[in-house]
């Protein structure tokens, strides 16, 4: 646990040192990180893909029903996967295309109806709303900006969607009335981008608060003042590195 705190605090500080400038500590952290993550994905691929999805079910099926064709069906992805490796041998490299074709064909087919459903029809459905409502006291139109379903917001929504869609027209030059619509679209885009930017600040700050809380925790006596000691060492190392590289430059 205590060793963990030291390692975690050290790696955190190494990466943060990148905010100062590129330096050996960051390089060390970066290469460690890449190495660990590649190793991690290899282990995960081996256990979850090869063992759990391929080897174990295949072994089970074949030992239980060796005569049934269905037991061997998992050999298809295995063979396709192996075809990918044909790329290592230039002469038969084209075989890998069969695997690409399989993967991309599946992806494209799956995408079409689902995209139409949730990103086209569903979006149209949510945008098209009556501007007025019929209540007990007859027809009324909502002017309450705070309620997203009110009539006035429905109008804003339709204008926004239509003008931004028009901005994405490529075969029409944006002139005349088209220019006004496209400009409206650009303003909508910019307001939305600004709002989204401002909105995201909070969640990014939460991450930083989380990291800093951990560092503060590791600065406690029960962890041997890990953060403080490591912070001092990091600063010293950076200073030493600066001096050394300055000296080298002067020579």
């Amino acid at each position: 646990m205590i060793l963990g705190a030291w390692v975690a605090a050290g790696l955190t500080l190494f990466i943060y040192s990148f905010l100062y400038k590129d330096n050996p500590l960051f390089k060390l952290g970066e290469h460690l990180y890449v190495g660990i993550s590649v190793g991690y994905s290899v282990v995960l691929a081996w256990h979850t893909v090869f063992l759990r999805l391929l080897w174990e079910p295949l072994k089970k099926d074949i030992t239980e029903n060796p005569a049934v064709f269905g037991s061997y069906v998992l050999l298809i992805p295995a063979v396709l996967g192996l075809l990918m490796w044909a790329r290592f041998i230039p002469k038969i490299a084209w075989l890998s295309r069969l695997a690409f074709a399989f993967v991309v064909g599946f992806g494209s087919g799956v995408a079409i109806p689902r995209t139409v459903s949730s990103y086209i029809l569903k979006q149209i459905e949510d945008t098209v709303n009556p501007l007025v409502t019929r209540g007990a006291d007859g027809l009324s139109m909502g002017f309450n900006l705070a309620s997203p379903q009110s009539g006035v917001n429905t109008i804003v929504l339709v204008i926004g969607v239509v003008s931004v869609l028009f901005y994405f027209f490529f075969s029409v030059e944006h002139t005349g009335p088209g220019k006004v619509t496209a400009r409206t679209g650009i303003y909508f885009l910019m307001i939305a981008f600004g709002a989204a930017f401002g909105y995201t600040v909070m969640s990014r700050m939460s991450l930083l608060i989380g990291r800093f809380s951990d560092l503060i925790k590791y600065a406690g006596a029960e962890y041997g003042y890990a953060s403080l000691v490591l912070l001092a060492l990091t600063v010293l190392a950076l200073a030493a590195w600066e001096m050394a590289s300055r000296g080298r430059r002067e020579v």
């Binding site: 590129d22 890449v34 149209i124 709303n129 501007l131 869609l165 075969s171 981008f193």
Partner: protein, 405 residues
């Protein structure tokens, strides 16, 4: 002598009080339409007397004589067919009728191809009345008719697309509006050549089955042709091994097309790791150490976008981004010199290559967008008129553009 009629009268009154709960009218059971089986649906007419303290129980059996088992209970003024539940071309019951879906459960499993018998019990206080017994057999369906509009949309759009591609093949000189970011591509490559620094090109986080990745690889092909021509060095770090393999082929082809197959280097495309942030750390490292003069960010991105572009900005590189990841657009727009927003990324590949297929596709998409824009405007008008004149007639049109499950 007087007592008897009184008794009769009382009996009669009592019977009429009991009969105050009407039996459910028009009760029938059917196989749930458009589903994977193992489920039945019940339909009966709504009654003006439905209310919260009158409950309906559903009793189910696998033989006509029982034993019946209670599987559901709810207030009698719930479970209606509501507008928007079903499209008009695939309605199991009239709007306003009661509609209950019974799914197979552990308490009462429903199997396909076996007849089941259902009856309703309506009760209020200590009065109760049974409906008739209805029979139905569950079966899985082979086509979801509620999604017919989806299929029609796909087919119609395909038709428009093929027609406009054919038209563009006959006449490839379709005018396309200027896209600001693209004029900068040439400039960025030129600058890198002058400064003798590499060009960094990222294809995003997506796999080969995403449009943004494919558009990014098409643009990479065009950029690589120019790079080969100017003899600048190109670096393409990858997160997906398949995309890397495809990009190697594409870049090689571009060098061949530019007449410089000798200048092609196999390791201009290389793999770093598939993990999001370690990839980012490594690319940031490349930016700081090799100081590329131009950074291209094409494809789809997640939270790493700002980590990449801010580092790139600090090294003074020209940055051109193009993404359809709407959630990351604010960061690209604020930190890059040029950003291709959403569809502009796809348009860019057509604009740069002037390939009839791509240009035709773009036109086809424009037709599609025009159509959707008119649906939005007219649909809102129809929906409003529908409320004003209090009529459901427009639903026949509006339902065509709804998403049904």
């Amino acid at each position: 002598m007087i007592i008897a009629p009184t008794l009769l009268l009382l009996l009669f009154l009592g019977a009429s009080v009991l009969a105050a709960i009407p039996a459910p009218e028009g009760f029938r059971a059917l196989d749930t339409p458009n589903d994977a089986g193992k489920s039945l649906s019940l339909v009966w007419k709504a009654s003006p007397a439905d209310r919260a303290d009158r409950t309906v129980q559903v009793w189910l059996a696998d033989g006509p004589d029982g034993p019946f088992q209670k599987v559901a209970e709810f207030p009698s003024n719930t479970r209606y067919v509501k507008p928007g539940d079903f499209p008009w071309w695939a309605q199991p019951a009239r709007k306003g009728d009661h509609y209950v879906k019974l799914a197979s459960s552990q308490a009462f499993p429903i199997e396909d191809g076996k007849p089941y018998f259902v009856k309703l019990l309506v009760r209020e206080g200590d009065q109760e009345v049974w409906s008739e017994v209805a029979e139905a057999t569950s079966a899985p369906n082979v086509f979801n008719t509620a999604q017919l509009n989806n299929l029609v949309f796909v087919l119609a759009f395909t038709g428009v697309l093929l027609a406009s591609i054919a038209a563009a093949r006959r006449n490839p000189h379709v005018p396309l509006r200027r896209i600001a970011g693209l004029d900068a591509v040439e400039e960025a490559i030129g600058r890198s050549t002058e400064m003798g620094r590499p060009i960094l090109y990222l294809t995003g986080s997506g796999g080969m089955d995403e449009v943004s990745t494919i558009a990014a690889t098409v643009i990479l092909g065009e950029v690589a042709k120019k790079v080969a021509h100017y003899d600048t060095s190109l670096k393409v770090p990858h997160r997906d091994p398949i995309v890397m393999a495809v990009c190697q082929e594409i870049v090689k082809e571009s060098y061949v097309a530019a007449g410089r197959p000798d200048a092609y280097k196999e390791d201009s495309n290389f793999f770093i790791t598939s993990d999001q942030f370690s990839y980012t750390a490594a690319v940031d490292g490349i930016m700081l150490r090799e100081k590329p003069a131009a950074n291209f960010f094409m494809g789809s991105y997640f939270a790493e976008s700002l980590l990449l572009t801010e580092t790139g900005a600090s090294t003074g590189a020209i940055q051109i981004a193009g993404t359809d990841s709407d959630h990351q657009l604010p960061f690209f727009v604020t930190t890059c010199d040029y950003t291709l927003i959403g569809e502009e990324l796809y348009a860019a590949s057509a604009y740069l290559s002037r390939e009839p297929v791509l240009v035709g596709t773009l036109r086809g998409q424009d037709f599609g967008k025009g159509f959707i824009m008119s649906v939005l405007v007219l649909g809102t008008a129809f929906a409003t008129i529908g409320v004003v004149v209090d009529s459901a007639i427009f639903n026949y049109v509006l339902d065509l553009f709804k998403d049904f499950k």
